[in-house]
Amino acid sequence: MSEKQQYAPGTHPSLPPPANTVGVIGWVRSNLLSSPSNVILTILTVYFLYVIIPPTIHWLFLDAVFTSSSRAECREIEAAAGMDRGACWGFVTKRFGQFVYGYYPDPERWRADLAFFVLLASLIPLLWDKTPKRRQCLYATLAAPFVIYWLLTGGFGLEPIATDKFGGFLLTMVIGVTGIFFSLPLGILLALGRQSNMPVLRIICVTFIEFIRGVPLITLLFVASTMLSYFLPPGTNFDLLLRVLIMVTLFSAAYIAEVVRGGLQAIPKGQQEAADAMGLKYWQSMRLIILPQALKISIPGIVNTFIGLYKDTTLVIVIGLFDLLGVARGTLSDTNWQALSTEVYIFVAIFFFISCMSMARYSLYLEKKLHTGH
């Protein structure tokens, strides 16, 4: 019989935690089974996942046919291999060129590729603050839009290409990037106008912002496609894509203005007063004191607006432009690929999911990096 060891009060070494509170068991107990209602919830969720996931994986991957030249061929391959009915992904490779470039002429597609690389290269100094010689690179970035414009539409030695040939991913990017590029400065100006102490400017900005935010983007696109030509001098006819770009930019500028206004209102009044006391002029105080702080607060909202704009580029199909979704829908009217709407839409959905998700992640990273509070 062993003697129980005696400890002076307060000197007993800590006992190991009970086995059922650590490790996998502990985790399951505290995260999945902590109360009767949680047990029920867990069981229901597991059942739900069991019903949903295996058939989905079968359909998406295991029973799917990845290479074929038509839907009928997919079905033949499936029948020959004795598989269940699965997805038919052949259209992705067969029509990849169209998905990416739309109707951009084949021999000129290198220009779109080059433009895309110029875009990526110009984004590096903007998004990554450790770029060597960042300042000089940012000036180059300012020139990038013009280079891209020249590459895509031609002229000056390149064969001109009409904008109605743009389509697919190319068009999505053109609308999304142009909208983002121009709507941010415009939105900031509108927000400043709305906060201004000149009543005329304020009224104009408020009217503009509330009008744009009060109507759906689709109706504005309709206005651009059907009505705008009435307001231009007789005989002028300007590009549908340009009209759409203007509308999309104005639309998202109004939303950005509201986000930035939120940021401006969150800056304590003392900041403005201190700037005034230092003798800074309006634009100096805005540029050096107010906007850097206000924009920092509004980053999540601004990125959300950008994501919204990027998603809204799909709406251009209602006025007859073929962005990625439009081209994908075009696939469905091809006799080879009829009735594959689920596959086609899932393909586009995955594309949008990845791009929007990465934008959202970047904004989280930026928020963390700029967080200087406590």
Binding site: S30, T45, R213, I218, P234, K311, L325, R329, S341, F353
Partner: protein, 393 residues
């Protein structure tokens, strides 16, 4: 003799803050008005050149197109005006039902997202991220495709009790036919609502004076739902059902919800629910735990704590973004045009516009309707926010 050289007059005016702001404003007004004048003049010249005026007289002409889902009587001989109203009602239908479903789902998902249960938390998270990062139009097309492709044909309709039918041509339900005596039920319902509003104030007054708490919720349920049901049976069940039945190639009678409506409704609600869930989560997280602890320390029971301490404060955070989500849902319902649901944009802004060629007038109507709606809602929300705003020193 010393002479101070005066700077030029313009320079002096420009350096004076007041005068400068007046100059800027006058110039802005001048530019704006000349721009508007320029646009208007172009419009007049252009319209004259093609011999079109600006008049709304075409609204009384027959529309001569069909609308497959209508809430009021409509046929192709009715006027464009009536088609517009049908479209407006369809927009209202999908917006209101969408808001109801999106709110319910959004609150459920928002609460589940805060659940301590890791599994459900993750599942809801994946759902929300998927919904928020894929364009709404794609959701609508996808749901529409699923509804049309997976629901059975009319002959093999899924039926419940032989009175509700689910097919790829729509969702058929019995249609209530109200007899005159049904008015008694409606009146009982209205009286119930008035009563409960009065009773709630009364209960609060009693509680303030004596501390006695009435079960307001259950009395409310009884007054608003129970009493009308009793009246309904006392009046001899003044309600008949028109049950849909298969005749020829389709169902006749009853009410029908078209697949376009179902797809739009589901897609809009599921999409908006993801955004509402995030708002609800943020709202509840914004209330510090100290509030709950303080309420417990005062001896308030958990459900009263939720009711009196947490929810009122969370709502203050939730309601402004929630209302803007409702507005977004309503505006997004204009995507109906992509799947052929006849809302306001598809009727007056789509087919009527193409048939009559009156772009200006039609777009004016559509924009005016959306603007009226959005601005009145946001005016109401501003008023409401002011009312519930925290009074700070």
């Amino acid at each position: 003799m010393e002479t101070t050289k005066q700077p030029p007059l313009f320079y002096r005016l420009w350096n004076d803050k007041e005068t400068r702001s007046t100059i800027i404003q006058i110039v802005t007004i001048a530019l704006l008005f000349s721009f508007i004048f320029y646009l208007a003049r172009n419009a007049v010249v252009n319209l004259e050149a093609i011999g079109k005026g600006y008049s709304f007289r075409f609204l009384s002409d027959p529309a001569s197109y069909d609308i497959n889902q209508t809430l009021i009587e409509y046929n192709s001989r009715d006027s464009h005006l009536r088609a517009t109203i049908v479209g407006l009602l369809n927009t209202a239908l999908v917006a209101i039902t969408g808001i109801i479903l999106a709110t319910i789902l959004g609150f459920v998902f928002g609460v589940l997202r805060l659940s301590k249960n890791w599994l459900i938390n993750r599942v809801v998270y994946v759902y929300i991220e998927y919904m928020r990062n894929v364009p709404l139009l794609l959701h609508i097309l996808l749901v529409h495709g699923v509804v049309v492709n997976t629901l059975p044909k009319v002959r093999q309709a899924i039926s419940i009790q032989d009175s509700i039918f689910l097919t790829n041509r729509g969702f058929y339900t019995p249609k209530p036919l109200f007899e005159p005596a049904f008015w008694a039920v409606v009146i009982a319902f209205v009286i119930g609502i008035v009563f409960i509003i009065w009773f709630k104030r009364y209960a609060k007054r009693v509680q303030d004076q004596t501390g006695k708490i009435y079960p307001v919720f259950w009395i409310g349920v009884g007054a608003v739902i129970g009493v009308p049901i009793i009246v309904f049976f006392l009046a001899g069940s003044p309600l008949e059902w028109d049950i849909p039945a298969l005749k020829g190639f389709n169902f006749k009678g009853g009410m029908v919800l078209r697949p376009e409506y179902l797809a739009l409704w589901l897609a809009l609600s599921l999409y908006t629910a993801a955004f509402i869930a995030e708002i609800v989560r943020a709202g509840i997280q914004a209330i510090s735990h100290g509030q709950t602890e303080a309420a417990y320390a005062l001896g308030i029971r958990p459900n009263r704590t939720m009711q009196l301490v947490v929810i009122p404060q969370a709502l203050r955070v939730i309601i402004p973004p929630l209302s803007s989500q409702y507005l977004n849902l309503t505006k997004n319902s204009s995507l109906a045009i992509a799947i052929g649901y006849m809302d306001i944009v598809a009727t007056i802004g789509g087919i009527s516009l193409n048939q009559t060629g009156r772009e200006m007038e039609c777009m004016t109507i559509v924009l005016a309707i959306y603007l009226t709606f959005s601005l009145s809602i946001s005016a109401f929300m501003n008023w409401y926010n002011k009312r519930i705003k925290l009074v700070e020193r």
